[in-house]
């Protein structure tokens, strides 16, 4: 999957079902945004009615509300509590099972050949997938489960028609325009009409587009799409200071960490909603007969005290140390480990923090501290 590979067309919104049908007919499990428990989450899509047409969201620190908006299209919402990592790096995953035999035991690894297709993937989310690629498949070791699933994954991206109050992708060079890493990219156009501008980003995408009944995209279509993206970008209020990687490392022992600690509940919400957080733990179990054992991998969080446990006690006893670990890993150490920031500016950690701790605000505070020192 590369940059826009040239194919461009207009698909009327009433034909969106045909796209869904084509993806299904190619044997993919299609996952996209859908409404559940007053939130927009990612789940299986059977047909176009599963998409949250006419629903918009309002987000602010510690706050997420959906509202009916007759003018809202299929993708008028912004990112919700889910991210795509839950399908490539599941929150609970059986790594293998083992069975006792005469002389010891034998190990079986599960197979999963499901081909995944994602629709409604935002620019910041493509960036997040690429960040997890660096962790799971571009180092000295490859996570087999992740690597295979990701390689076969079909990405139907969406350009954001609006930004949430919590978004800051533009300052992370992660959006709002989708530029690479997709098969198809959609822009929802609603000025006196309801169409999708489709751009292709791969040979797979080209082939998909050929299956659809579309019409040629005209200059005015591109103009409308560009203007919409420019307006989205202009509406982004929050930003991450570009010097934050160095600044945080210079102030690892500042007393402001204690100020954050006094607010932080150590609930781990931020790490669970984060599309790039990759920490996990494993659990080994047996059944009651003692003949069968399994190893499961679960999402873990650096906010848990046990996370840093070694014989004698946990390394990071204080909440301050645990918050410091999270934010310095994400914004500073990630650069040294993986050659990129670990943050995409999606704003989920701001929205889903029960006490509304804002990563951009804390970053700005450390920049102020840095200026004063």
């Amino acid at each position: 999957m590369g940059k826009t590979s040239g194919g461009r067309a207009i698909l009327p919104a009433q034909s969106l079902q045909t796209l869904i049908d084509v993806v299904h007919s190619q044997g993919y499990r299609l996952i996209g945004p859908t409404l559940e428990d007053n939130a927009i989450v990612y789940d299986d899509l059977e047909n176009v009615e599963n998409l949250p047409l006419g629903i918009s969201d309002r987000q602010s620190p510690g706050n997420y509300r959906l509202e009916d908006d007759p003018s809202a299209g299929y993708f008028a919402h912004v990112v919700g509590p889910h991210s795509w990592k839950r399908f490539l790096f599941p929150a609970a995953q059986k790594l293998w099972s083992a069975t006792r035999v005469d002389q010891g035991f034998s190990i079986q690894t599960p197979e999963d050949e499901t081909k995944l297709a994602f629709i409604g993937v935002r620019a910041c989310e493509i960036k997040a997938l690429q960040m997890q690629d660096r962790v799971f498949s571009q180092g000295p070791f490859t996570d087999n489960g992740y690597g295979e699933k990701r390689q076969n994954c079909l990405i139907i991206a969406v350009n954001c028609s609006r930004a949430a109050d919590t978004c800051f992708c533009s300052s992370m060079d992660a959006g709002p325009r989708v530029t690479e890493g997709f098969d198809l990219a959609l822009t929802e156009l609603q000025q006196g009409r309801h169409d999708f501008l489709i751009e292709t980003g791969s040979a797979n995408g080209e082939a998909l587009l050929k299956e659809l009944v579309t019409r040629k995209a005209e200059d005015q279509d591109f103009a409308e799409a560009d203007a919409q993206l420019a307006a989205t970008e202009a509406s982004i209020q929050r930003r991450m200071p570009s010097n934050i990687p160095e600044v945080l490392e210079r102030h690892l022992q500042d007393e402001h960490w204690q100020t954050i600690e006094s607010r932080c509940l150590n609930c781990s919400n931020c790490t669970l909603v984060c599309p790039t957080c990759f920490c996990s733990t494993v659990e080994d179990t047996t059944d009651l007969t003692g003949q069968h054992a399994e190893r499961w991998r679960y999402w873990d969080s650096c906010f848990n005290t046990d996370f840093s446990y070694i014989h004698g006690g946990s390394i990071r006893q204080s909440g301050a140390a645990r918050y410091r670990q999270w934010i310095t890993h994400k914004l500073s150490y990630w650069h040294k480990q993986f050659g990129t920031s670990g943050c995409t500016g999606c704003g989920r950690c701001i929205t889903w923090c029960p006490v509304g701790i804002d990563i951009t605000e804390e970053a700005a505070t450390f920049c102020e501290i840095d200026k004063r020192s």
Binding site: S280, C302, K336
Partner: protein, 277 residues
């Protein structure tokens, strides 16, 4: 069933022998079910899986020149290591590895070598000691400084005595708490550094022990003029995967599992200065 080698799937090893070292410490001798040799570098570690119980990161304590037997020396401190302690010969264990960085035994050629270690920290250094002694002529002076809590906690006592009886290596042992029949040294290991015979500017130091001991040892070495990038420490952190996926072992920007466990001190000196990093 997938046959490709997944780094999270253990290989089967059989316990050949278990040897009791101390009240809570034992050594396992293992061979691969495949009968393959198990080459490793001194300082590397494995993840050892006990059926249904769990997996623990344990350094290899055997001789790298004898890769047909895999040797691990383990202190029983948790549920898995307690379980491993009751292993019998013939039992099967899962092994993933070897992982991590090694003691710089090649780069240190021609240098004086000071090995500073405490407690079970001698286990991950023993492969390096075997290598140094097998290639004795390649190195300058070799000094081993070892500390244990009490005389009853001295690990590999017979070997320490054997090494101490050689004329081409000096071995000093100290205990934190003496008993009436102990006539050796009493005190902490870093105190031995001052009196040890080595040429600081041409010395490579290898340290493994509790962090507090390593911190004071580094200080004592620096005071004698050993260069910061010639001091190597082996770090311990929580590990679940050993391959950089699980995030548990992070120490600043380093993953102890894949960037370590053996680090030049210059690479992680900040970790010694900042609490709870």
């Amino acid at each position: 069933m997938k046959t490709s080698q997944d780094p999270m799937t253990p290989n089967l090893f059989q316990v050949q022998r278990i040897r009791r070292e101390l009240a809570d410490t034992f050594t396992l001798e293992l061979t691969a079910e495949s009968n393959n040799e198990f080459p490793f570098l001194p300082g590397q570690f494995n993840m050892i899986y006990l059926f249904g119980s769990g997996e623990v990161p344990i350094s290899i304590s055997g001789d790298p020149a004898q890769p047909n037997r895999l040797i691990h020396t383990i202190r029983a401190v948790g549920s898995v290591t307690e379980g491993l302690k009751s292993c019998k010969s013939g039992d099967m264990l899962g092994i993933r590895g070897p992982f991590g960085s090694a003691w710089p035994v090649e780069q240190a050629t021609g240098q004086d070598i000071v090995i500073i270690t405490g407690g079970i920290g001698l286990a991950p250094l023993r492969p390096a000691i075997y290598h140094l002694l097998a290639n004795r002529q390649r190195y300058g002076k070799i000094v081993i400084l070892y500390g244990a809590r009490t005389p009853a906690d001295i690990l590999f006592r017979k070997e320490l005595e054997r090494w101490r009886s050689r004329f081409d290596i000096s071995v000093e042992v100290t205990v934190d708490q003496a008993v009436s029949n102990w006539s050796g040294r009493v005190g902490v290991v870093p105190k031995l550094i001052n009196r040890a015979d080595f040429a600081p500017e041409e010395t490579t130091a290898l340290i493994c022990g509790p962090e507090i001991m390593m911190r004071f040892s580094v200080k004592a070495l620096q005071e004698r003029g050993v260069k910061e990038d010639h001091i190597y420490v082996s770090m311990e952190r929580n590990m679940k995967c050993a391959i950089g996926f699980c995030g548990h072992c992070q120490l600043g920007s380093q993953f102890v599992c894949k960037d370590g466990p053996v680090f030049p001190y210059s690479q992680i000196s900040s970790a010694f200065r900042i609490r709870e990093l």
